[in-house]
């Protein structure tokens, strides 16, 4: 079993190889040079790859034909058709690496077509960290199959046995004495394969990889640093109008929808702008963008805004507790009640997590052109085929005449308003008879998001006198995701409904006790009706932050009750080798020696005259967690100001085991991003509202972590070359949340039962439990 363990410390700019494990050349560049000064060079082929030559037709193209996946051009370059979207996570580069590897092409010889229902296969949506787990194997097999056909054709062409042929950069050669060669481009350039994709072509052994498992620079970097990258915000359609929605500032309860009472169109008569209304879908369109922007801001509208929400976050959790619930037993093992009764140490802990927003850095944008014959919609969807289904259903047209194209916006981390925007743009285009470019304003995106749902959790945990966890029960309460987009509610008054049950909306057995060997375990899911609350959708590592925030604190409390170190206690309760490895790797990187933080205390704040030691208390915590695959662990060093309640995160260590690492630089970036984003979610982020609607509508009312407060970070990657690739986009988030919570307790001796750790909340906990 070959295995490499890479520690990449982006703060110290150094890297360590675990000497006990065999070295792999492919990782040497990363290891020796460190990520900060990493310059990877590779042979440069001229980038002349052409776009695909296949005509766009209503998809999905048949998955069992090679032509649906790969095209070879006469200049010896290739195009792959990707069903997965580049959402800022580097999926594009990683999938190109997989294709280039099996085709024996340089990465510079290969391009991708972004998701498009008229061109790319239906690989399912780009969510649940699936681009590598689900997407990579398909692309890999398709590329291998294409290579197999190309070699067969080359063998016939060169009169050389196929078995002796070799490929390098698309150049096919035989043995030296054969003195003959051809190229992919010569063999098939710009013609279709017209062959079946059987999935039976042999795959390369990981030991032979030249492109995969290397930190290849992302293919979109140059365009992004030079201003040449076309984000969706830059896309234009000929003859289009600019549009802005007009909605109440901040959503109310999901079931109340959007209801216009009256519109005073004379209020914007002075502008070169037009009001469009379909039901309660209201927008202002204009030739010039500024006219649409100020028209939407100035239009006088009277809304029906019922007081249907709890008055604030505290009332929210009371409402959730009091709501009737559908209760299901998600998992049951052994005899939980006897085991809890007989436990030597019993821990009861409950907590909650708030609604949190995706808050993409750029509000969503969508373009649409609707005629009787065809509909084109461009948006930043995670799933073009699902968006096509939505448009076809709401516009009541056949899916074949709908073409949905993905275009990259800012990172979105889940279900933000892309479908809502595409649907609104299409409905407006149909009303106006011209193409529409609809850009959401900041308050549209913050106020009408499909938030990560609020959660209430309660854990009861028992250990025996030897420090073994003997009983574990978790009761989790939340609502499901919202099925109907706000645009549809507004335009058609469609009744609000929720998604049917799905794992990411319920108690997650992988993180709720799932890491530990527990003979008696029970997980209870309490589903409440989400129509009375805010709109909800999947937000990076759905619900897991709340789960691990609560559950992993109880684990720490159990360690304390057993007078054990939190890491030692976890280790003795884990037998799963993946969980042990991530725990060992992250604590090794952090040089774990207990719950005191080695980081220097922050300077005393200017307003305070006491010394740093009197103001700041620091502590260190550990946490485990994941989402639906892979394994994550984290260590956090934090400091708490006892006088002001301010919490500073000093250093975060995060580790992911995601099977085979396609691109270590990508995974490292994903871990760094998760550490910082999890810190933001634990310290800053909370959707606020009153009974009428959401009041957190911008970066002032919905603060996120700023650069000055950004912690030092250390990313630790475990590469398993022989294993299938899993996800790395969200699997360190929950562990980080847990580690921060446990570090808080290590610093102060007090437990936080709710996040974010705002100053007011921290001071209240420090005083209450004093």
């Amino acid at each position: 079993m070959s295995e490499s363990k890479v520690y990449v410390d982006t703060n110290l700019m150094n890297s360590i190889l675990d000497e006990k494990l065999p070295r792999r050349d492919i990782l040497k560049a990363l290891l020796l040079q460190g990520i900060g000064s990493l310059v990877i060079s590779f042979p440069l082929a001229k980038v002349t790859a052409q776009i695909a030559f296949r005509d766009p037709t209503a998809g999905p193209p048949p998955a069992d034909e090679i032509d649906s996946w790969v095209a070879i051009h006469s200049d010896n370059t290739a195009t792959v058709y990707l069903g997965f979207a580049e959402l800022g996570q580097g999926a594009l580069t990683a999938l190109l690496q997989v294709a280039a590897e099996e085709l024996d092409l340089e990465i510079s010889q290969i391009k991708a077509i972004a998701p498009d229902t008229h061109l790319t296969p239906n690989q399912g949506g780009t969510f649940s960290s699936s681009a590598m787990r689900r997407g990579a194997p398909q692309v890999q097999r398709a590329a291998a199959e294409a290579r197999e056909v190309l070699l067969r054709l080359a063998a016939d062409y060169l009169y050389i046995p196929k078995e002796t042929l070799q490929v390098n950069g698309g150049v096919i050669t035989g043995k030296a004495e054969d003195n003959a060669f051809t190229t992919y481009g010569e063999i098939i350039g710009d013609r279709l394969f017209q062959e079946s994709f059987t999935g039976t072509a042999p795959l390369k052994a990981p030991i032979d990889y030249k492109v995969v498992m290397k930190p290849i620079p992302r293919t979109d970097t140059y365009a992004k640093v030079s201003g040449k990258h076309c984000y969706i915000q830059h896309e234009r359609l000929p003859g289009m109008l600019h549009a802005r929605l007009v909605r109440p500032r901040g959503q109310g309860a999901y079931h109340t929808g959007v209801k216009v009472i009256s519109v005073d169109t004379s209020s914007i008569e002075h502008l070169a702008a037009t009001v469009i209304q379909k039901g309660s879908l209201l927008a202002v369109v204009a030739e010039r963008e500024w006219d649409a922007v100020r028209g939407a801001a100035q239009l006088k509208v009277s809304w029906d805004r019922p007081d249907a929400l709890p008055i604030d976050n505290q009332a929210l959790f009371d409402s959730m507790r009091n709501a009737s619930a559908k209760i299901t037993k998600a998992q049951e093992k052994g005899d939980i009640s006897t085991a809890l009764n007989e436990a030597a140490h019993l821990i009861d802990f409950s907590g909650s997590g708030p609604y949190q927003a995706h808050a993409p850095f750029a509000p969503n944008c969508a373009l649409a052109s609707v005629t009787d014959k065809e509909i084109l919609a461009i948006c930043s969807t995670q799933d073009v085929y699902n968006t096509r289904t939505l448009l076809s259903r709401v516009l009541k047209v056949s899916p074949e005449i709908v073409r949905v194209k993905f275009s990259e916006g800012a990172g979105t981390y889940g279900h933000s308003c892309w479908d809502d925007a595409a649907l609104a743009a299409a409905l407006l285009s149909r009303e106006v008879g011209r193409p529409i470019r609809l850009q959401y304003m900041r308050w549209d995106e913050h106020g009408w998001d499909y938030y990560g749902p609020a959660h209430l959790g309660q854990v009861s945990l028992g250990t025996d006198s030897d420090g073994k966890i003997s009983a574990y029960e978790y009761v989790g309460r939340q609502h499901h995701w919202s099925l109907i987009e706000t645009t549809e509610q507004s335009a058609l008054n469609t009744e609000a409904t929720e998604w049917p049950p799905f794992p990411a909306m319920q108690v997650n057995p992988l993180v709720l006790g799932g890491m530990y060997d527990i003979p008696n375990l029970q997980l209870i899911n309490e589903h409440i009706d989400g129509r009375d609350f805010l709109r909800a959708g999947w937000l990076r590592s759905p619900l897991d932050l709340s789960f691990c925030f609560i559950s992993e604190q109880a684990i720490d409390m159990a360690a304390l009750a057993n007078q054990q170190d939190p890491v030692a206690f976890r280790r003795q309760n884990i037998s799963n080798s993946h969980w042990l490895k991530v725990l060992d790797a992250v604590t090794e990187a952090a040089k774990w020696q207990g719950s005191s933080s080695p980081e220097p205390l922050p300077e005393p704040t200017a307003a305070q005259t006491t010394s740093a030691e009197h103001q700041w208390k620091s502590g260190r915590g550990v946490g485990l967690g994941t989402h639906l695959a892979s394994w994550g662990a984290a260590v956090a060093d934090i400091a708490v100001n006892l006088l002001t309640g301010e919490v500073r995160i000093l250093h975060l260590y995060g580790c992911i085991d995601c099977g085979r690492v396609i691109n270590p630089a990508n995974v490292e970036n994903q871990i760094v991003g998760q550490l910082v984003q999890a810190a933001s979610r634990m310290l800053c982020e909370e959707v606020s509202f009153n009974s009428e609607g959401v009041t957190s509508l911008d970066w002032g009312s919905y603060p996120v972590l700023r650069l000055k407060d950004s912690p030092k970070v250390t990313a630790v990657i475990i590469n398993q070359p022989e294993a299938e690739p899993l996800g790395a986009g969200e699997e360190a988030m929950a562990a980080t949340a847990a580690a921060i919570a446990n570090a808080f307790a290590a610093a102060t001796g007090k437990r936080m039962s709710h996040y974010p750790f705002t100053r007011r909340r921290v001071l209240s906990v420090l005083q209450d439990q004093a």
């Binding site: 900060g36 991708a112 992302r218 990258h229 850095f361």
Partner: protein, 185 residues
């Protein structure tokens, strides 16, 4: 080029441009809607996030809050013109295709969606011109008004430090443009 009476005129990336936009129209919409630039971009329209940042006479400004009338007669630099602007500020002749901060961001390979990096690179340029060797505290202070939702802050700090190093050693840029790709149609 003589501008008509009702046109506003300003410098943009070394050229003179004019617009018929009203004086109170935010510069951002003139740059993106009328002049089709891709560097400055809409993020919040409230001056909170920094995605629309441009340099006006070398000083970072939020284009979403700057009325176009206020920049009449001034010189605006966007991400598209950042390398030329940097070169023009150097005492020795320089014609690098990327300014040091752009090359450093590419080399650090830390951006994710990259949407915020327009403002990051604009603001870092302003910083590096006045303080070629900024301390970490200075970097954090200067860039604190620029949000990054992907959480790449540690990479941003590393990129500014690397840019500073490049300026100090004036070593040739190691980043080969073709190696950074552009493999997406």
């Amino acid at each position: 080029m003589a501008a008509a009476d009702n046109l506003l005129t300003f410098g943009l990336n070394g050229k003179i441009v004019s617009t018929s936009a009203e004086v109170q129209c935010p510069l951002l919409y003139v740059l993106t809607d009328e002049l089709k630039l891709q560097g400055p971009r809409y993020g919040c329209g409230l001056g909170q996030c920094g995605s629309c940042s441009v340099l006006v006479d070398g000083v970072e400004k939020r284009a979403c809050l700057t009325p176009v009338g206020a920049i009449s007669g001034h010189e605006v630099t966007t991400l598209e013109g950042l390398a030329d602007f940097w070169n023009s500020q150097q005492s020795e002749t320089s014609n690098s295709e990327l300014s040091p901060i752009q090359a450093a961001v590419a080399e650090v390979q830390g951006l994710q969606c990259g949407y915020c990096y327009n403002g990051i690179m604009i603001k870092a340029t302003e910083l590096l011109l006045s303080s070629p060797k900024p301390s970490e505290a200075q970097i954090k202070q200067a860039l604190n008004g620029h949000l990054c939702r992907c959480g790449t802050y540690p990479k941003i700090i590393a990129a500014v430090q690397l840019a500073s190093e490049k300026i100090a050693t004036a070593r040739p840029l190691e980043t080969t443009l073709t190696s950074l790709g552009g493999n997406h149609e």
